[in-house]
Symmetry: C2
Subunit: 485 residues, 2 copies
């Protein structure tokens, strides 16, 4: 089947229900399917949207194209949770069904106000010449999940940006509302973060120009501003960023910039950080969304998937997932990401190890591992029973300490043009602490208490669930099987 433009933008009511039912069943039965992460019911999942706390529960949405593993006509699927771990899929919430979002209800954010949840998102419209127009749309969701869209766009693209103007994040500060958006400046064709202000969420919204960060490649997607221990941190996805500015290996990186203060009205970001830093050191994180919750913490959730890439599950009609939720903190100006406490509620069948480390972890597992300082060796995850073909973690914990994760020998190749390994530097001569989560086709490796996170997909045969470490390594390990969420 060829995914023509016409096919990808076919309205949902022109698809037949049998096709959808078969896609849903096929996705549910996949050996690669995630069991404790948010995954698409069918088709393609991309950006997390509307990550928020409302009506006594955590809320998140994902960008959905239900009819195949391609970027087609997008909508929002809604999930809610009591604990940031167990998510209930409530189905479609924002459909592309108005003249302002006829070619996609694209990414946006949410903010609880009174007894409603306010959504602000990008309506994507293509005109008869297939020229893109983007509208920033407001909508109210009630406790029943009913969404009422405002009839007029809250923000139309200003003259100083191109058609690349999207992904609004709503913020509240000093009794006013602000929104930041990813933008491409029309004059310079460079990536910017646009800033808007309003007295009311429903507008009028005033253009305050760009945040005074340096230009970021040719476009910035999915900007977020979150306060971590009172410090502003911008999280965003620069496209076409010069690798001399900041090193990255993925097609587009997801990066952050931590600062000292942010002047909402002037758009001035005060920072000592010289350049953006990778948010995730792995292969597949993009479009992360962060927000400051009523509990005072900052939480982050990521799309595990990249634009313009393909994945082996595409042939099964579904693609991608969301990461687990990560709690943010800062240490020496660097972002630290930790699993939320409730992730422990998934644990069962705890096991401790001594001697040679070689065991069947199962397809859903958590492994806590400390490799003592001054060693060199490797650990295989998702290996076969013979201890081969796994994801290889090579570590040095002496001088020139580093950790390399290589997925190149494990199952099917995944976007190999962008390299099969990723390396993070480690503090020299210290113990290495790893907290590793495996979920069928996803690994999330928290390094040294979340100082780095290495996230990636892998697509190996279902029986590749073995863990094996080089003999003679001095370590401590504890592992758990994890339940379905």
């Amino acid at each position: 089947m060829e995914w023509t433009r016409e096919k990808r933008y076919l309205p949902y009511d022109k698809w037949d229900a049998l096709t959808l039912l078969k896609l849903q069943s096929q996705a549910a039965r996949s050996d690669y399917q995630l069991h404790y992460h948010i995954r698409p019911s069918s088709g393609l999942l991309n950006d997390p949207n509307g990550f928020s706390y409302y009506n006594g529960r955590w809320q998140v949405f994902y960008q959905s194209y239900p009819f195949g593993a391609v970027h087609g006509l997008k909508s929002w699927v809604h999930l809610s949770s009591r604990d940031l771990v167990h998510w209930e899929n409530l189905g479609e919430a924002v459909l592309p069904d108005t003249p302002l979002d006829s070619h996609g209800a694209y990414s946006g954010s949410a903010k609880a106000v009174g007894d409603k949840l306010f959504l602000m998102y990008t309506g994507n419209v293509r005109d008869e010449n297939w020229v893109r127009h983007s509208y920033q749309i407001g909508a109210w969701m009630d406790e029943k999940g009913q969404v009422s869209k405002l009839p007029e766009a809250l923000i139309k693209a200003p003259d100083h940006v191109t058609e690349h103007f999207r992904d609004p994040q709503i913020l509240e500060h000093g009794g006013k509302y602000y929104a930041i958006l990813g933008a491409q400046d029309k004059a310079s064709k460079s990536g910017k973060i646009s800033l808007y202000r309003a007295e009311q969420l429903t507008g009028p919204w005033e253009d305050l120009g760009y945040v005074d960060l340096p230009d970021m490649g040719y476009m910035v997607e999915c900007p977020n501003l979150v306060f971590v221990s009172g410090k502003p941190v911008f999280i965003f996805c620069p496209q076409g960023l010069d690798k001399n500015v900041a090193d990255y290996q993925n097609v587009y990186p997801n990066m952050y910039w931590a600062g000292e203060s942010f002047d909402f009205d002037m758009g001035h970001f005060e920072t000592k950080q010289k350049a953006p830093v990778n948010l995730d050191e792995g292969f597949d994180v993009y479009a992360s969304q962060a927000f400051n919750a009523p509990d005072g913490q900052a939480y982050l959730i990521s799309w595990v998937g990249l634009p313009d890439m393909t994945y082996p599950s595409d042939s099964e009609g579904w693609a991608n997932c969301l990461s687990q939720v990560k709690r943010l903190s800062l240490k020496h100006g660097r972002l630290v990401q930790k699993p939320v406490k409730a992730i422990k509620s998934l644990r069962e069948a705890e096991e401790d190890f001594t001697g040679d480390l070689a065991f069947d972890a199962g397809a859903q597992s958590e492994i806590k591992l400390t490799v003592k300082r001054g060693q060199k060796g490797s650990l295989l995850l998702a290996a076969d029973q013979a201890g081969q073909h796994g994801i290889k973690l090579r570590f040095k914990t002496g001088k020139h300490a580093r950790l390399t994760v290589d997925r190149g020998e494990c199952g099917q190749a995944v976007n190999a043009d962008f390299g099969a390994s990723r390396t993070v530097r480690l503090p020299a001569g210290e113990d290495l602490d790893l907290r590793i989560f495996m979920d069928h086709s996803l690994f999330e490796i928290f390094v040294n208490g979340g100082a780095a996170v290495i996230t990636g997909r892998y697509f190996a045969p279902a029986d590749q669930t073995f863990v094996k470490m080089d003999k003679g390594i001095d370590y401590r390990a504890r592992t758990w099987r994890l339940k379905d969420m």
Copy 2:
């Protein structure tokens, strides 16, 4: 929207996907929706099918009509579980897509054979004059969930039955295969259980006539034969049964008949039981399916829903659920039904009570309650905060001991023509033990260790989650909030 015959039998590929997505979301968001029972993704759920153990997991299917709360064109939706409590919905498995099941893939059973699961079910066909033809169809399901139907019917309706001939259960005995089916005898128009035998599951199947039970009304649906502690027990749904034979209040009952032995080849059932007995003493149990598992136990799962009835959730486009799984035993010739042990894995937030019993149990709860002997009083479940409008349990534990469950004051009326209360007799002068499960719109009350089970639906406002007992009753109570499955 009128549910014409044409509409109800519209092929799934003539429905549009948007309608299905909206129905799925609407069902997921319903305040009445079940959270730890098997429920339809959308539309109508009826009989459990193919309850079995295969590929290291428990398997069950349900009869599905995905497009509304009506009996339309049926398919099988598949779920599997590691523990009989946490079920994973794998979507559509058997679609009505051949000339032998063009008007519905109706009920049937499953048996693991080698590395495949064999399904035997009724293909429903209506000819151009809307005359019904039923075919008993065989199919192999593999570990990936792929279903391959055999091209020819295994059993065509014999001359001695009418078009009402369905719901095959596969059994294995003495190296041969047997099947029992619900039948209407053509000559007498009475309800019968037909018996077939084969050397191979794929046939040929030999008609052995009827099991020598008395005639049961005008039709028997969903016959099951299960061995409990070595004794044969028939479980079935007689339609039009004379209430002088066995008392029942629902439109059609689900009943059982326990015996001493069953001669598979002669169809002779040796029993001391004089008449069939209600399987469930409540309002809404039908089409239960039981099987003998590899662990030596007999397990039962029930449709909670009745033919020809309507429910308040119909207006939300979905209807019905399955019961929790019940483990069967026999005591003094009577069937005893107990929750499976793993149901305890749902428990959280345990609480014990003394003094007046009045508390908020939450919408998902388990309550263990002992009412001491020699008392009279009542207990309200799903009451409002003022302790009104609940499901009323009236008990007497002295002489003429009995328990009455009255749902007539609790929320919307449910098939009130068939009575709002059900009463079970209790042993005189003994403590009354209740184990009560609540799941938003479902109650399951296990009386005296499962000697009786009282199951029913109720449709009250979402905040009616309070429990209240008459003051001065001598009792012991412990309660748990229950997690989602």
